[in-house]
């Protein structure tokens, strides 16, 4: 069994019968482990897809967009302006422009959580970013840590495989124990493997090891957040935002409750890209080039 395998998603607004006549813009976020495509109609969320990144970035971009367009009747030609973002942003063959993921994440979080968001923690597959932003979703500060997989989806996947626990069950299991263990001494995935194996041998339950690992991860990202500055409201984006074991511990350490959304927290970058695509298209139209 692939314990690390997380659930891909796709969504379409059931209340919108037809997109024709609307301004259609899109964003594609190619990350190291996941790719998202988002479609907006007149600046409002219409459809999205979230999938694992394949070995070929342009194909992943196309596949994600096809999944988002599925059942809508849309084709690539109908996308008036598309922004590519993420580490593979220059590999989106149908994008009109690429924009950095920090800018897109802040803008996307502003839409997902509202204009009161001032601090965003994006926990992606391979890196972790603390972002400060204003009421319009413009970035005021950022700090990232991509030196090691600690605090990232990749680190969580390694632990899932090691302990043979489906990655989506790590959070609830880690919260099912009474009290809180000491955090594992290192969240570096290499050392954490050794530490986790040692703790299991010493008789710790899987749940307790997971709690220790989630706590260590939370401590690490809170340090990053505090270095960049924390101002309320606070929100978490990316795959780890779905891990209640890490989220609750971050909230406890910060003494702040993170805003929540019913939408997929992994779409923030692509959503921001699609919103920026709308801005750029409007600018072009205003200057007579659109």
């Amino acid at each position: 069994m692939d314990y690390w395998r997380w659930t891909e998603s796709a969504w379409k607004d059931p209340d919108v019968p037809d997109w024709r006549g609307a301004m259609v813009t899109a964003g594609v976020d190619i990350g190291s482990t996941s790719t998202q495509a988002v479609i907006l109609l007149d600046g409002k969320l219409y459809a999205y897809a979230n999938m694992r990144t394949g070995s070929n970035s342009p194909n992943s971009a196309l596949e994600a967009m096809n999944r988002a367009m599925e059942g809508t009747g849309l084709t690539l030609e109908d996308l008036r302006f598309t922004v590519g973002t993420g580490y593979g942003r220059v590999n989106v063959p149908f994008a009109h422009k690429s924009v950095t993921e920090i800018t897109c994440h802040a803008r996307g979080a502003n839409y997902l959580y509202g204009p009161t968001v001032r601090t965003i923690l994006d926990m992606g597959g391979q890196d972790c970013k603390a972002i400060g932003c204003d009421a319009k979703g413009a970035v005021t500060s950022f700090m990232m840590n991509d030196k090691c997989a600690a605090g990232t989806g990749r680190g969580m996947e390694v632990i899932a495989n090691l302990l043979a626990v489906p990655v989506e069950e790590i959070g609830p299991l880690s919260l099912s124990i009474d009290g809180e263990p000491e955090p594992v001494s290192s969240v570096c995935v290499i050392f954490a493997k050794t530490a986790a194996t040692g703790l299991m041998r010493a008789g710790w339950s899987k749940e307790k090891v997971l709690a220790a690992y989630c706590l260590a991860m939370a401590i690490r990202v809170v340090r990053l957040l505090e270095r960049n500055g924390v101002e309320e409201d606070f929100a978490i984006t990316g795959g780890i935002a779905k891990n209640s074991g890490v989220v609750r511990r971050i909230e406890r350490l910060l003494g702040i409750t993170a805003l929540k959304t019913d939408l997929d927290t992994q779409i923030a970058g692509a959503l921001g890209g699609a919103l920026i695509a709308g801005d750029l298209l409007r600018k072009r139209q205003a200057s007579g080039k659109g």
Partner: protein, 94 residues
């Protein structure tokens, strides 16, 4: 925007911070040629104005890259990158 590039590991905290709001009104963009390791790159910000950043490939290796500029003894008051920036937009965490 206050941009922090770098990392933290067991040996310390290694970030270069750039106040890119200052870059927007910078005329000579001295940082681009002021670092012997060529760590700085100009990239368009949200308004399409070129602002300074640290090259992506260098961000995880700043401790080693900057070592020659930071001797343990007689470290200069201003590092070459800081000297090259007339608007005092660059700070180092270590």
């Amino acid at each position: 925007m206050i941009a922090h590039y770098g990392f933290e590991d067991g040996s310390g905290v290694f970030y270069i911070t750039i106040d890119t709001g200052k870059c927007a009104r910078c005329e000579d963009r001295g940082c681009a040629g002021g670092c012997p390791e060529g760590l700085f790159a100009l990239e368009p910000d949200d308004e399409d104005i070129p602002v300074a950043g640290i090259r992506e490939q260098a961000r995880n290796a700043l401790k080693a890259a900057c070592a020659a500029c930071k001797p343990l003894e007689r470290r200069p008051a201003l590092l070459p990158c800081q000297k090259s920036c007339g608007l005092e937009a660059i700070t180092h965490s270590w």
